[in-house]
Amino acid sequence: MKKINKRIQKTLIMIFALGLASATLFTGCAQKTSADDGKEQVRKVIVGTGNGYEPYCYLDDNGNLAGYEYEVLKEVDKLLPQYEFEYQTSDFTNVLISLDAGKIDIAAHQYEYNDERNEKYLFGTEPYTTYVTYLVVPSDNEDIKSLDDLAGKTIYTGGKGSNSTYIVEAYNEEHPDNKINIENAESLTSEEFVQGLLSGKWDAAIATRRDAEKHNKAYGSDAIKIVGDPIQTSSTNYLFSKDDTQLQQDVDGAIKQLKENGKLAEISIAQLGGDYTENE
């Protein structure tokens, strides 16, 4: 009996020691260094962006944030010495919730203007990318030209809270007898996007011309095409909290400067493969 008891004790002690060791090992990670006491003039601004929308915001080979949003904001940060930008990535839907919760100060994820967003957030006034969206269908499809052709069919839109979802929802409200089924998903890969259309899972999707081209290129053939007139012609802006006008004005000023000195166009060409900063 004694022997067995010892055994149990030994095992328990071992488990306990293991737990303790791991606890001490990992508490190091919890301690945040707060070294920002010295420079009080510089305001720390947290930028919220996505991690799955190539080439705008995604993680590169080493797991670091990369893409158009990041490159532009890096230049903006350089022009604004009174701010220090920090970046936080999450899923698309979580970016705006984080802005609501005050976890971030700037939301950067190719946000187009819409009334719903405008009601809750402060839009920047200096757009930094054009955003013209079209219907996208398989290349051999000749029937679908506009949203009206999609009654009772299924369309893929870019996730809850995205502008394409908003547009189709608005369309459905205006045409109650002619409803389009919305299938929401976010951060699809090109493969999933093309495959979804080819397999007939969706009859159409909404995307910009450059995104459609990107998908075709990634897929390796001209499997999909854009049709008809633009669904919406707009541009994208950063979003701020309602009362953060100072930051909004400063960032707008910086964007304006980047436009004037040609830097923004440069970044657009390097990241997006074309100048999409003024018009298409």
Partner: protein, 233 residues
């Protein structure tokens, strides 16, 4: 369809993903170590039926066991700062990195689940054992420590083991609040390369290997503790 899966990419992405498993393991360790401590405290409250605290634990446990992990994670991530910051005058909403919210959620969750396991295990020891302890002159504490606890540990071990593996699986949810763990990295590789299936296959493989390892370990410890069946030499 032919390009959906390629063995080359599988091999290529493997080393890219492996380092991120550490994030999941960190969550698992925090959840287990502090979850056990919290679980024991809650079990104490439940055993002693300490007024007020007891009622709180009942609500707490039913909440933690009755809501999806994902919901808890988002509630803590967005809701906890809104609740704590005004009271304590802190600013964890911005100062805490997402992973700290992940730790907090998993510790709170595990505290509830493990307390149920512990409570059940202690209750599972026949009351005659307790009486027997007292009858040979041990104090209540001695009886608990020498008689009840060792048996309870043995009863608790199998459910503890499956819970352990379950937490590890759940830890793959932390990417939704912006922690770049193995799942988050798999998704981001997917969006950067346009190919996502290989990364998911790798994640699945790693999870299977880990789960099997953990099960084997708990099986081994369980056998060690199964003293009723140990051969006496």
């Amino acid at each position: 369809m032919g390009d959906l899966f390629s063995a080359d990419r599988l091999v290529e992405e493997f080393p890219k993903l492996i380092p991120y498993l550490i994030e999941n393991l960190k969550v698992l360790l925090w959840a287990t170590v502090f979850g056990v401590i919290l679980g024991l405290l809650i079990t104490g409250v439940r055993m002693k039926k300490i007024p007020i605290l007891y009622q709180i634990t009942v609500v707490y446990i039913s909440f933690m066991r009755g809501t999806p992990m994902l919901v808890q994670l988002l509630l803590i991530y967005y809701g906890l700062p809104a609740f704590i910051d005004p009271i304590l005058g802190t600013n964890i909403s911005r100062e805490w990195p997402p992973i700290l919210f992940a730790y907090t959620t998993f510790i709170l969750n595990q505290g509830a689940f493990l307390s149920s396991i512990f409570y059940g295990a202690i209750k599972g020891v026949p009351s005659g054992q307790f009486e027997a302890g007292l009858s040979v002159g041990m104090t209540k504490l001695q009886t608990f420590r020498r008689i009840i606890a060792p048996m309870a540990v043995r009863i608790a071990l199998p459910p503890f083991g499956s819970d352990f593996v379950g937490v590890f699986h759940n830890a793959s949810l932390v990417y939704v609040i912006g922690v770049v763990d193995i799942m988050g990295r798999a998704k981001s590789i997917g969006s950067a390369t346009g190919h996502v299936l290989e990364a998911y296959v790798i994640v699945a493989l790693l999870f299977i290997i880990f789960s099997m390892g953990a099960r084997a370990l708990f099986g081994f410890v369980g056998n060690k503790l199964d003293y009723a069946n140990i051969k006496v030499r």
